[in-house]
């Protein structure tokens, strides 16, 4: 699996998100869930969106399908998919995109399938919504999809109800459902979070296989950088509604620029290294999206804060020789490389010498 250059595909990006803002009016004030997110996704690329709970990553992903629309939601910015704008698209236009062009796997497979409908019917319903396919052929496709995601005896199980499946099996059904109309983009919104650790790897493996077979681009939303390590081409790190760092897998893992990324990397447990005394964690809590600190949002938790941090740092390329590596941190690059210490060799990234020359 070769790394693809981000956003610079030969035919232009498949998806371009430009300065997307999403806010919700709540009783506690306006919650700015997504605050000026921009990125591009090339065909066949795997982009991981990483961040803590409440960083706005799921809202951002679901907004691309119009699934966050509600009377109290406000949207700004644009998202272009193959030239069509998604943020302000009508419901009818969106329905043609949903599942057929952009499909999604949700976090909790236990509740994401209709409990009173046979799983086959749930897949067929989607196929027939987008293609005029006779029942028998749609059923054949559903069986084939279930086989492809590794459901044993798929021909019998197609008539089962969701409650007859385990969580891992249900997530496979969700994947089959998402792939059933051959979408160009698959959004996986924390697809493994609700599953046993042993099942997580299998589910990721399925997603990767399907991605290789179909060439679909993937937006993998997760809070776990460990999940990302062997599947993503590029990584966008989100914090409090903003992308704070964005780059290739290697850049993020071996030359991370933002102190928040250091913290995330420091929180990965590595089984190949001696165990630390205490589980490492980033001090403090993420800010409430209704009341965020001015300037750099990570400032209150950052050990390297200085005067400059009261201004919002723009997301730009700051590292020489890495034009596709962006971050939002005022610290000079050489200082960062000096300061970042994530217990080298114990957890997270390997020490400084691993940085690409």
């Amino acid at each position: 699996m070769s790394s693809r250059p981000g956003g610079a595909g030969t035919a232009g990006p498949l998806l371009t998100v430009d300065d997307l803002h999403v806010s919700f009016a709540t009783e506690d004030g306006v919650v700015q869930a997504v605050d000026g997110v921009s990125f591009e996704l090339a065909a066949g690329e795997v982009l991981a969106v990483v961040g803590e709970s409440g960083s706005g990553k799921s809202v951002m992903a679901m907004t691309l399908m119009g699934l966050t629309r509600s009377p109290n939601a406000r949207f700004e910015g644009k998202a272009f998919y193959k030239g069509a704008e998604l943020v302000e698209a009508s419901e009818d236009e969106l329905r043609a995109v949903r599942a057929a062009e952009i499909a999604i796997i949700f976090q909790d497979p236990m509740t994401s399938l209709n409990p009173v409908q046979r799983i086959g019917k749930q897949i067929i319903e989607q196929i027939q919504e987008h293609e005029a396919l006779p029942d028998q052929q749609a059923l054949e496709r559903a069986v084939e999809l279930l086989e492809r995601v590794g459901i044993p005896r798929a021909r019998e199980r197609v008539d089962s109800y969701p409650f007859e499946f385990s969580g891992g099996m249900r997530q496979r059904v969700m994947i089959a459902l998402a792939m059933s109309c051959d979408p160009s983009i698959l959004i996986a919104d924390e697809p493994t979070t609700a599953l046993d650790v042993t099942i997580q790897a299998q589910i990721l493996e399925r997603i990767r296989e399907l991605r290789e077979q179909t060439g679909a681009a993937v937006i993998l939303v997760t809070h776990d950088l460990g999940v990302v390590a062997d599947i993503a081409d590029r990584i966008a790190v989100m914090y409090a509604g903003r992308i704070v760092e964005q780059g290739t897998l290697d850049q993020i893992f071996y030359d991370p620029q933002h102190p928040y990324t250091w913290g995330l990397l420091g929180s990965i447990m590595r089984v190949d290294k001696p165990r630390p005394q205490r589980l490492p964690a980033i001090a403090g809590l993420p800010p409430s999206l209704a009341d965020r600190p001015e300037g750099c949002h990570f400032r209150p938790r950052c050990p390297h804060e200085f005067a400059e941090c009261r201004k919002v740092p723009p997301l730009t390329s700051r590292v020489e020789g890495q034009p596709d590596h962006f971050d939002r941190c005022w610290l000079p690059v050489d200082q960062k490389r000096d300061k970042r210490e994530v217990l080298p060799g114990v957890i997270g990234l390997d020490s400084k010498e691993a940085a690409p020359a």
Binding site: M65, L67, E91, L94, R95, A96, V97, R98, A99, A100, A103, I104, F106, D108, T111, S112, L113, N114, P115, V116, Q117, E125, Q126, E129, H130, Y161, F163, M174, L177
Partner: protein
Amino acid sequence: MGRFVVRRVVQMLIVMFAVSVLTFLIFNVLPGGDPALRMAGRNPDPSQLKRIRADWGFNDPVYVQYFKTMGQVFSGDLISYSTQQNVWQELKGRIPRTFALAIGATIMWMVFATALGLYTAIKAGKFADRFLTIIALIGISMPVFWIGALMNYYLGFKLGWFPNGGYVPFFDDPWQWFYHLVMPWTALSLLFIGVYSRILRSNVLDTINEDYVRTARAKGLTERRVLINHVLRNSLIPVVTLWGLDFGAVVGGGAILTETVFELQGVGQYAAESIGQLDVPPVLFVTIFGAFFIVLLNTVVDVLYAALDPRVRLS
């Protein structure tokens, strides 16, 4: 399945037995409950009373009287104390009237309550929802004898749009049958539409936030399909239980007020008249009849439940 049926039949027999014993005992201990006194007329002489008591077996112990009466219930020989008519012969002609009322009304209230419940849930908080909520509460608050009387007076008597009560058998004239039942159906349905639409509204509002509804939207389904295939079906499951109880009661002669206001001469009206005369045999018969339908409808609900929700399906 076989065990399920046997269990339900046994349950039905126990309920009917208990209900019949209770009804019989209550009427035996009621003051003024002595049927011989009423049968003997205004100024009975003691010898006449004695003869009636002997003829009808009122001197026997209560349990003997009970079993004798129950025997007559099942052989169809039960005779009313006050009219001396055969209870079964009297009831037979009334059953289709009550069924017509119950079935028509339940179709009406389920259709309107579903539409109203779904609509108000989609429009939750908006003017249409608030307005219809008030209408539903008015519907719940209006007693059927009152709204029925109003309908009879204005729509029937004053405007002459509908016949003032009465019943035409379906096979005599289907249109007249329908025409005569429109007002009773409406009067009986109003309360149920109010209650059911409120319940359905809150069920829909709960269901619409479920993850699988979001999945349905992500599938690119039309909003209509999302609502009907995914939201409504899951929201209707709890309503079915309620429907079984209410429909069972109405079929079993529970719509006493509606039947009386509109002179339908149904089972409920018969029960009302018999209770007024402390006429034990018909009351007993109608009570057992009603209990039968309530237990039967509860069984139907269990079967429906399994069809609607595979998680409770019988193993």
